[in-house]
Amino acid sequence: MTVTITVNGADHSLDIDPATPLLYVLRDDLELNGAKYGCGLGQCGACTVHIDGKPAFSCLTPIGAVAGRRIRTVEGLGSAEAPGLLQQAFEKEQAAQCGYCIAGMLMRAQALLDRNPDPDEVQIRAHMQTNLCRCGTHMRILRAIRRAVAMRKGVHSAQEVRP
């Protein structure tokens, strides 16, 4: 059947099995690399995207269920040439090792910042609990989110955000 989805502001019509998880449509049909296959079980968060502004596991979301809804991927936050604020903060903190989890981390964190522009440390950790990192980059990811909060507030002093 034909399904129309809106990804990063652009509409795409696909002739596709509506049970296909959104992840494979993003990766294989739209050729977007951001969302990653990690577990297919909603346990690791590597596939995290936004659906109507809320973080969601694209590996568990059938494409038929998101017709007409607004989907945002890490590509929608910015590009290497013009990175978004959160991407800039991750770059500043060098908050990646292998980086396979990082697009999911960015989308998870962006959802928090969209809802609460000034979260405290406890709120950040609780919100990020869903997403797994195996390289142990957690401390830098937390720093990067704090840096993004500070950047948004116009505080650019590295001392403010570096413990």
């Binding site: 294989d28 690399n33 951001g34 990175p83 060098q94 090792q97 980086g99 609990q129 957690h138 401390m139």
Partner: protein, 756 residues
């Protein structure tokens, strides 16, 4: 003939009747085997023993560096990016010694048709092997460029300078670009051993905290991974296996799957089975249908489920070959206080966040495999033997995957993809394992145990030290078809090779079992267990994780009994100045002398190791808080100090040490692979939980020691052992309870603490 570390070996007075003799007697070959930490195969032959790093096996300058007439520079390495930042670090090394801008360099990583074979990217060896080779090759190239310019200008070569931007300068102001000079030279010459290196005081690039070159694409959805490659006409495959190694599916329903729309082919050869489809989701649905078949166990029984005693019982039941590691005899006073203890570690999963992936294409009798294996050249050897192709018809190219931390499914999936591609010439095949396949079929980090007995004399000096370690081989890296699953499933099968230990000084299960400390009467033995009840291979730091945990726990047990400060007992037994420096640096930054004393709830611990006694020095101090109701331990803050020689990029070093520390807290604090009677019972993140954000430390700080111009020591694995022991020591300081069996889980601590 030279040995890598003659002074440390002779000074430490190692036993001369054991494995070390072998490594001396075979020095050139054995030294070559040390590429990649002694893991994998023999590695390329040493042809120039006087040169440094991997120049020993690839001495030709143009194998490492090419300069085009327009000044563009290409640098080649046989090592690969694993998320450890090596691409950036090696670029900085090359830029420094060529004296050009890092942005002028294109770095090519392991590719069997383009780069030197440097063995595996493993064992924290990339900076020593490849960093050192590129550093010296670049110094040679700069020297040749200067000599050629000097000849052209009629000045003495030592009067020619470089400008940092790819230009050569004469004293009178004349200048020439590298490209123009390089065009007159052949770099197909062997390096000389004594090309002068740039002075640390002149460094422009080495030691700078340049941002990593691979991170922007990873933050923005750029093509960053093998997983992101899309070739024209590419098909999606899934390999079909039972739930874990040693099982096989009985009568999978192939007929139904063959009729599924979008299924292109079922590939069945011997015990190997895969399904190929136009779409990835179709391949997964076909796999799920086939997996409904019953399975049977086809190999010997798995270890008993459980940790501690269960691990010990499994290992002690296996036949052991005893390998003496260290044996010293010294005059010492009588023992006043002695402690005997057993320490264990269960089997641990690599737990890569991205299941392994490969792409293979077979056209006109030639196979191309894109792989994120740590051994690109081994992938070529494996695939060639498996498919009966001449090695020159197999082209293996590294492309980045998710972090692997040792041998995960990367090598297996590359072979799997090649088998499928050979059956379907002309079609590029992309194969990714599913989450449960990565947990079920990858080689695990081996379960291990140690028994230590140590004694203090009246003067609080250690008068005897015994350390016995039991372990399976940690190096089952595939170097032929028998090393991968598809080889074992072939008809006739390629048998899995017999496990072998890595000889000291690097060691495998024995790694870091020889204390760097000066203890009197030290006896260390490796009970090598050849027979493997579970498929195992290298996991970051190999045996050093448990051996360092054991040594550093025992030191605290002795210190606690005698009322000695943990830092003091370490410094009192350490002669190596750099070791003393990192311990003191970590202690100073932590505020060790003013730390809160253990009060039943909060406490502090520290630990130290020099990785393999050859690599980076690392000390870790941490403060924990224990919830006595639940047994949950929270690390409030951790401080590490590391000396890895000249840091190529100090922030890259910090990233590795921070990550290693957090990963080790996860391994040590909560991880254990579970076993059912006939299969692995850990198959996803709920049956194999790892550390999440709620449980990571309050803060982690890393001090990188400044060692200008000192040889590279590598970094990536240095934190694993010290972090593990510091956690146990901090828990003991906080609660008075000594946990010796990993994981140091809330359940185990709560049981040890007893009723509140």
């Amino acid at each position: 003939m030279s040995t890598p570390h003659p002074t440390s070996l002779s000074r430490r007075g190692f036993l001369t009747g054991g494995a070390l003799v072998v490594s001396f007697a075979l020095a050139p070959k054995a030294f070559a085997q040390l590429a990649g930490g002694g893991e994998g195969g023999a590695g390329p032959a040493v042809v120039a023993p006087d040169l440094k790093g991997s120049l020993k096996s690839t001495p030709w300058l143009d194998a490492w560096i090419r300069i085009d007439a327009d000044g563009r520079v290409t640098v080649f390495t046989g090592k690969v990016e694993l998320g450890q930042g090596i691409r950036t670090a090696l670029t900085q090394v090359a830029a420094e010694e060529l004296d050009i801008l890092p942005a002028a360099i294109t770095l090519v990583t392991a590719d069997t048709e383009r780069t030197p074979d440097e063995g595996l990217t493993a064992g924290s060896h990339s900076m020593q092997d490849s960093g050192t080779a590129i550093q010296n090759a670049a110094a040679n190239v700069r020297m040749l460029l200067a000599a050629e310019a000097a000849r052209d200008w009629g000045v003495a070569a030592d009067r020619v300078t470089t400008g940092g931007d790819g230009s050569l300068h004469a004293p009178d102001g004349r200048s020439l670009p590298y490209g123009e000079v390089a065009a007159r030279l052949s770099l197909h010459v062997q390096a000389v051993p004594d090309a002068p290196l740039r002075r640390p005081s002149d460094y422009r690039t080495l030691g700078l905290e340049l941002p990593r070159v691979d991170i922007p694409a990873k933050l923005t959805g750029g093509p960053a991974y093998l997983h992101d490659m899309r070739l024209p006409g590419m098909l999606h495959a899934r390999v079909v296996r039972g739930p874990s190694v040693g099982t096989s599916l009985q009568s999978p329903d192939l007929d139904a799957v063959a009729r599924m729309p979008g299924v292109v082919r079922i590939v069945r050869q011997g015990g190997f089975l895969a399904v190929v489809a136009e779409r990835q989701w179709t391949a997964i649905q076909a796999l799920r249908h086939l997996q409904r078949a019953a399975y049977a166990r086809t190999q010997s029984p798995l270890p008993a489920d459980g940790t501690g005693d269960a691990v010990a019982a499994t290992l002690k039941a296996l036949p052991a070959r005893d390998i003496p590691i260290m044996d010293t005899s010294d005059p010492a006073g009588p023992a006043v206080r002695s402690v005997k203890a057993r320490y264990t570690r269960p089997w641990i999963s690599h737990g890569s966040i991205g299941p392994s992936c490969a792409i293979a294409r077979y056209v006109d009798g030639a196979m191309t495999v894109w792989t994120h294996s740590q051994g690109t050249f081994d992938v070529r050897r494996v695939v060639a033997e498996l498919l009966g192709l001449p090695p020159e018809k197999v082209h293996a190219i590294h492309a980045e995957g998710a972090g692997c931390y040792g041998q995960n499914g990367a090598d297996d999936v590359a072979a799997d993809a090649a088998v499928i591609a050979k059956a379907m010439p002309g079609h590029p095949i992309r194969l990714q394992w599913m989450r449960e396949q990565e947990f079920g079929w990858e080689p695990l980090g081996p379960g291990m145990m140690t028994e230590l007995e140590a004694a203090l004399g009246a003067d609080n000096r250690i008068v005897s030290w015994r350390h016995a370690v039991w372990s399976n081989p940690h190096n089952n890296r595939p170097v032929g078809a028998g090393g991968v699953l598809a080889g074992n499933e072939a008809d006739p099968p390629f048998p899995a090779p017999e496990g072998k230990p890595i000889p000291m000084p690097e060691g495998d299960g024995s790694r870091n079992s020889n204390p760097l400390y000066s203890f009197a009467n030290t006896h260390v033995v490796y009970h090598f267990l050849k027979n493997m009840p579970v498929r195992v291979s290298a996991l970051r730091s190999l045996g050093a994780h448990l051996n360092v945990f054991s040594i550093e726990s025992m030191l605290d047990e002795l210190a606690a009994g005698a009322g000695i400060d943990p830092l003091a007992i370490r410094l009192d037994h350490m002669r190596d100045e750099r070791a003393r420096d990192v311990m003191q640096a970590a202690a100073d930054r932590f505020g060790w002398s003013k730390r809160p004393k253990g009060d039943g709830r909060r406490g502090c611990g520290m630990a130290f190791a020099r990785y393999k006694n050859l690599g980076a020095y690392c000390a870790v101090a941490m403060e924990v808080e224990v919830d006595r109701e639940t047994g949950r331990t929270l690390v409030r803050r951790a401080v590490a100090a590391v000396d890895c020689g000249q840091p190529a990029n100090p922030d890259g070093v910090r990233n590795q040490i921070e990550g290693g520390l957090v990963q080790s807290l996860s391994w040590t604090g909560r991880e254990a692979v579970r076993f059912a009677a006939d299969r692995r019972a850990s198959f996803d993140w709920s049956s194999y939980p790892i550390l999440r954000f709620d449980d990571v430390p309050g803060s982690v700080e890393v001090v990188v020691m400044d060692r200008p111009g000192a040889p590279f020591l590598g970094t990536a694995e240095a934190a694993q052992g010290p972090s593990a022991a510091a956690l146990a020591n901090a828990i003991a300081d906080a609660t008075g309870v000594r946990l010796r069996d990993m994981p140091l889980s809330p359940e185990r601590l709560k049981a040890a603490l007893g009723p509140v």
